[in-house]
């Protein structure tokens, strides 16, 4: 569903991403681990066509994201580290607006159900987003991904800054999406969450995908050792 082929991004002499090759299939949750500046967010931004690749290709559903920007965006949903919504609109109004932009139309009842399903407390559905915590905003993001019936989920450090309970709820929602066959690419610092949720793990260092393996093939301790080894290199 998601494919990077020799994907490279350079800023002048600096190489932010170096010949990345990866593939995420339907129902996979591919977690990209790495320190700050490792190239995780650059990868996500390239799949979103927010920046142009210097070399190589990123495809979603076999479509090149630079040539078929609109079509590929119809297939995906994106949740950044800090999902920002319009603070003067309620969670429901935000969801309605973003669904509308994606060409989806829902009744008020359906939107309420989607928000409740993603774990947002009913009291907050009609309150302005300005009063939401980060976790609540991320839940609206999940509701949006569900509402858009996205087949690809791009997540850029979505659990960063969330408390353990909210983090756990978020992981459960992701697993729910996985069951529906959604292909997920998630950049994260959180080794535990990656091991717990991901089906595939990739470790990035200085723009290079230095390691990739299936989550079930490696224990948490071994994964941690591998990670630290690459970080010290």
């Amino acid at each position: 569903m998601l494919q990077a082929t020799n994907l490279t991004k350079k800023y002048g002499n600096f190489t932010a991403l170096n010949t990345l090759n990866l593939s995420v299939k339907e129902g996979d949750i591919f977690c990209l681990l790495g320190a700050n500046g490792a190239g995780k967010s650059t990868t996500i931004n390239l799949f979103l066509n927010f920046i142009d690749p210097s070399e190589g290709q990123a495809t979603i559903g076999s479509l090149d994201v630079t040539r078929y920007a609109k079509e590929t965006k119809q297939l995906l949903s994106y949740i950044p580290e800090n999902l920002m919504l319009y603070p003067n609109l309620s969670g429901l109004e935000n969801l309605d607006f973003f669904c509308g932009l994606g060409g989806k139309s829902y009744t008020k009842g359906q939107l309420e159900a989607l928000l409740k399903q993603s774990g947002l407390q009913p009291d907050f559905i009609h309150k302005r987003v300005g009063s939401y915590s980060k976790g609540m905003r991320q839940k609206v993001g999940i509701a949006l991904a569900t509402a858009r019936e996205a087949s690809v989920l791009l997540l850029d450090e979505p659990t960063s800054g969330l408390d353990p309970k909210a983090s756990n709820e978020f992981s459960e929602l992701l697993l729910g999406m996985k069951e529906k066959g959604v292909a997920t690419l998630m950049a994260t610092h959180d080794l535990f969450r990656a091991k717990d949720t991901g089906t595939h793990i990739g470790i990035m260092n200085e723009g290079v995908l230095v390691e990739q393996f299936e989550s079930g093939d490696v224990s948490f301790q071994d994964m941690e050792k591998l990670y630290l080894k690459h970080m010290h290199n």
Partner: protein, 478 residues
């Protein structure tokens, strides 16, 4: 289109929930209301005074009793410049051009009662007219409304979420432009309705024959002008990295277009094409009236030539033998000589005015504020061209009045019996009351083709800029 409307709807909803936007809209509407009300009060007061005084002066003219026609020509009458109903919207040059003029034989009096003479310099700097609010203050409201159109989305992080929904910058840009346009239209709607009601209700007494059409054109040019500001502000926001940068850039542009450039152009045109003082202008006319335009033909020479011409034409030896009173002919000849001298000097003066105006028109190509200012005054009937048209009509009326008086004297009185002949009220009634109608808008707008071109040029430029930036823009730099 559906996405454009969705974005517009969201922008409007967000703007309405921001107290600052609502308060600024209310303040703008209040300012427009105050300006319009002040304009209306001033229009009504002046209209009443003019109607009353004009009726009195007409009565005085008709009831002046038996009198020698030339004395009547000197007794003269007053003509008043009626305010156009649209002048309550744009005062234009009305405060500087004067409202009444005394008409008499041999002499072209200047216009009197210029409101600017009675005001302090602060008022002269710019009275609060509705046009001023629309030209200068509403663009400020637009700047505060739109400077964050993109920078706020970028800074808060919503831009990335928006773009991930598959919408393009083009859709986002037009959605925002439509939203700000609708917000502005809602704020200005009561004001536009007010202008229309006042314009249409004032048609009967109006000196503007096509007032409703002009009001429509005013709505059109101001819509274009405000659209330019909205689109330009959105474009600056699109190109700016931060809201602070966008706001500072837009305020600098506003200062340049609405304050610095118009003042500079006015000062430059005055320096390049300076006008003589009124005293100097009058002195030159008097000098040429005395000695002729060539400086070598005094009155005595001109009169001797005229006398010789008539004696030869009628084959008589003295003016007493002519079948009419030669005094009437000589007075009319003197009048025509004075007119020729006046036309010569006024022509030179107007040429300087035209050069100043041309410079300002050329400058308007680079500044839509100047273009809309000129067009607004023209459509409101308060511009220099309308005033010149009025001045010409008044002078034509004065000349016809004096000609009729002199002809009557030539035909009905005898040479040397100046005080013996007295004309009666039937002669006074031959002089119709002065009425005035401005040129129609299409005629007037032909003099403002550079200003119209300017608005078209700016519209096209903003379209091109928006189109180019929308194609090149990415949510992230790199």
């Amino acid at each position: 289109m559906r996405q454009v409307l969705l974005i517009a709807q969201k922008e409007i909803k967000v703007a309405l929930r921001e107290k600052l936007v609502v308060s600024m809209g209310a303040v703008t509407l209040l300012l427009l209301g105050v300006a319009l009300y002040a304009g209306y009060v001033s229009y009504q007061q002046q209209k009443e005074i003019i109607t009353k005084t004009q009726t009195e002066k007409r009565k005085e003219w008709l009831n002046q009793g038996d009198k020698h026609p030339h004395i009547a020509a000197h007794y003269g009458t007053f003509v008043f410049k009626s305010k156009t109903v649209l002048s309550l919207f744009d005062f234009g040059l009305d405060a500087y051009t004067g409202t009444s003029v005394y008409l008499e034989a041999h002499y072209q009096h200047g216009f009197m009662f210029r409101p600017a003479q009675d005001h302090t310099s602060m008022i002269r700097f710019g009275e609060l007219s509705a046009a001023l609010v629309l030209q200068v203050l509403v663009p400020l409201l637009i700047i505060f409304l739109a400077f964050g159109a993109f920078t706020r989305e970028r800074e808060s992080g919503t831009l990335k979420l928006l773009m991930s929904q598959g919408i393009s910058f083009r859709i986002l840009t037009w959605g925002k432009i439509v939203a700000y346009g609708i917000i502005l239209a809602v704020v200005l709607l009561p004001f536009v309705a007010g202008i229309f009601i006042l314009s249409v209700s004032g048609i009967r007494q109006e000196v503007i024959p096509d007032v409703a059409f002009r009001a429509l054109l005013l709505v059109l040019i101001y819509s274009v002008y405000l659209w330019l500001f909205i689109s330009f502000s959105v474009w600056i926001s699109l190109r700016s990295a931060t809201g602070r940068n966008a706001l500072l850039t837009l305020l600098a542009c506003w200062m340049f277009f609405a304050v610095l450039m118009p003042k500079t152009v006015a000062n430059l045109s005055e320096s390049f094409y300076s006008l003589p003082s009124m005293r100097e202008f009058r002195a030159r006319i008097q000098e040429d009236k005395r000695n002729g335009l060539d400086g070598k033909t005094p009155r005595s020479v001109r009169m001797a030539r005229l006398e010789k011409e008539y004696l030869e034409k009628y084959r008589v030896d003295s003016v007493q033998q002519l079948p009419f009173n030669f005094e009437g002919v000589s007075m009319q000849a003197g009048e025509e000589h004075g007119n020729k001298v006046y036309d010569h000097h006024l022509g030179k003066l107007r040429e300087t005015f035209h050069r100043q105006n041309r410079l300002s028109s050329i400058a308007s190509l680079f500044n839509p504020y100047l273009a809309v200012q000129h067009l607004s005054m023209a459509l409101s009937g308060t511009d220099m061209h309308t005033f010149i048209h009025f001045e010409e009509e008044v002078e034509g009326y004065r000349r016809e009045l004096v000609r009729k008086m002199n002809n009557d004297m030539a035909e009905n009185s005898r040479y040397g019996e100046f005080y013996g002949y007295k004309a009666q009220s039937d002669l006074w009634q031959e002089i119709d009351d002065f009425t005035y109608q401005t040129p129609t808008a299409p005629v007037l707008l032909q003099l403002y083709h550079l200003e119209i071109l300017s608005l078209l040029f700016w519209m096209m430029s903003v379209f091109v800029l928006l189109n180019y930036s929308n194609r090149k823009m990415k949510p992230l730099h790199g």
